[in-house]
Symmetry: C4
Amino acid sequence: AADGKLMSRTFAPYSVYKGKAAFSASPRLPTFNKMDSGCLKRQRFALSATEVGSFISLGPRDSCEFFHDPAMLSSNAGQVRKSLSIKPHADGSGYFISLSVVNNILKTNDRFTVPVTTAEFAVMRTAFSFALPHIMGWDRLTNQLPKNKDEN
Amino acid sequence: AADGKLMSRTFAPYSVYKGKAAFSASPRLPTFNKMDSGCLKRQRFALSATEVGSFISLGPRDSCEFFHDPAMLSSNAGQVRKSLSIKPHADGSGYFISLSVVNNILKTNDRFTVPVTTAEFAVMRTAFSFALPHIMGWDRLTNQLPKNKDEN
Amino acid sequence: AADGKLMSRTFAPYSVYKGKAAFSASPRLPTFNKMDSGCLKRQRFALSATEVGSFISLGPRDSCEFFHDPAMLSSNAGQVRKSLSIKPHADGSGYFISLSVVNNILKTNDRFTVPVTTAEFAVMRTAFSFALPHIMGWDRLTNQLPKNKDEN
Amino acid sequence: AADGKLMSRTFAPYSVYKGKAAFSASPRLPTFNKMDSGCLKRQRFALSATEVGSFISLGPRDSCEFFHDPAMLSSNAGQVRKSLSIKPHADGSGYFISLSVVNNILKTNDRFTVPVTTAEFAVMRTAFSFALPHIMGWDRLTNQLPKNKDEN
């Protein structure tokens, strides 16, 4: 009840009243808990701003593929090849996201493929679009005071 | 008048001047007041991030349905079944949002249906898209200082 | 020069390098100055959240119209009628925004029409979409700390 | 490892689990380093809010062009003419961005053309859409407290 009061003070739910029924929507903050992913193998792939741009502008029938060499410009250049590919499902209901890592130093060759639905892709597109200006450092624009005309 | 001055100092209205007439737009902060919803029955349905993704990516002819069991993983699992469905109007002018709750413990069976217009759905899509990164906890990205290159 | 240094420290421009030329984009904060609008007549029309939703979801061939009675629920109800209409240009290159105010108390009848281009409408759609969660009070979601799982 | 712990405490990655594989996405803050652009020539072009609106609403086959006179309203008016044009690639795979500066005072005539891909354009569209409300000063809406109903 105390929590309910707090919510009603701080958020304004969006409500739609029609006849005898009404629909009301309000946001909830996340809760976090620890999770053991249990993955035996794990690989990372850090998208650049432009690769994020490619990701968020994918149409339902589009595909894209990114290639990274984590040892680029070092003496191990070319020894590890990573590629991330995003390919649409044949019926347009989502995408396959595949990460391939060929490591000639460790003599390993990993390939992971995860199907994501349209809804899951929409979550990522929205979250990536939100994150992109922050990844680029443009969000610090908001923490500055505007200059007066005289100073310009 | 005092309020008007304050507004003109703090916001920059977006103005379009054409011939003898001009159009100017500026935002206003919300005001809140207490409201008695008067609903006799009330049910909640908390959307997950992926369900929000499904919601905001709905095309004008698309539908979706979500099923929740609030007692999942407890001894009452399966006793309460909730489903939220979103179905388009036949003429594409909006959606029907229906919430069905079958509670075998309380022997109740509630079903609520609210028609929402395209404009009301656009409000929710915009607000849900705004809320999604916050629901996911990604907004805390903005409250952090960037690392120096040396620390990377 | 000092200003240039400051900018390069605080913002990361987005740069595209191709062959001998490069393209770089970075944001600038606004400057404000006083302006005498010089309008002889002026009328206001405050959009509700749902009307903003209707505005931002307008397709290039769509139109919409909103009706307000500023004296609604008072003894002067019906004496002042305001309507805001948005109609597309015949060639799809923008919209006509018209505000009509019929005031039976002051015996006045004003009508303003301003053509807005697609680019000007895009500015308003983007700004209105940004403002909508704030108009609804959902932005206060960002100023709260997440609850721990235990408290939920 | 310490960094990994910190990340898991501060961000909630978005994870998709399917069968034996899982996909997880989380944002990373930017790092900055100094860069010598090495450009021999450099020209600036400051977009207005409406020009940003034109930029972000460009369809894949659309083009636009903006003309600026940096000495407008001074005695040097017309001496320097700048134009920025954005034209689509013939195959719809991106745009050519060209900046032309004719300076009759310095007797110079510069023209720069940079091809940008769809992904690079998506980055700019997302970043410009994010920046637009800030360029307009509407972001200060978020730093204000809402008024009580009584004060309205």
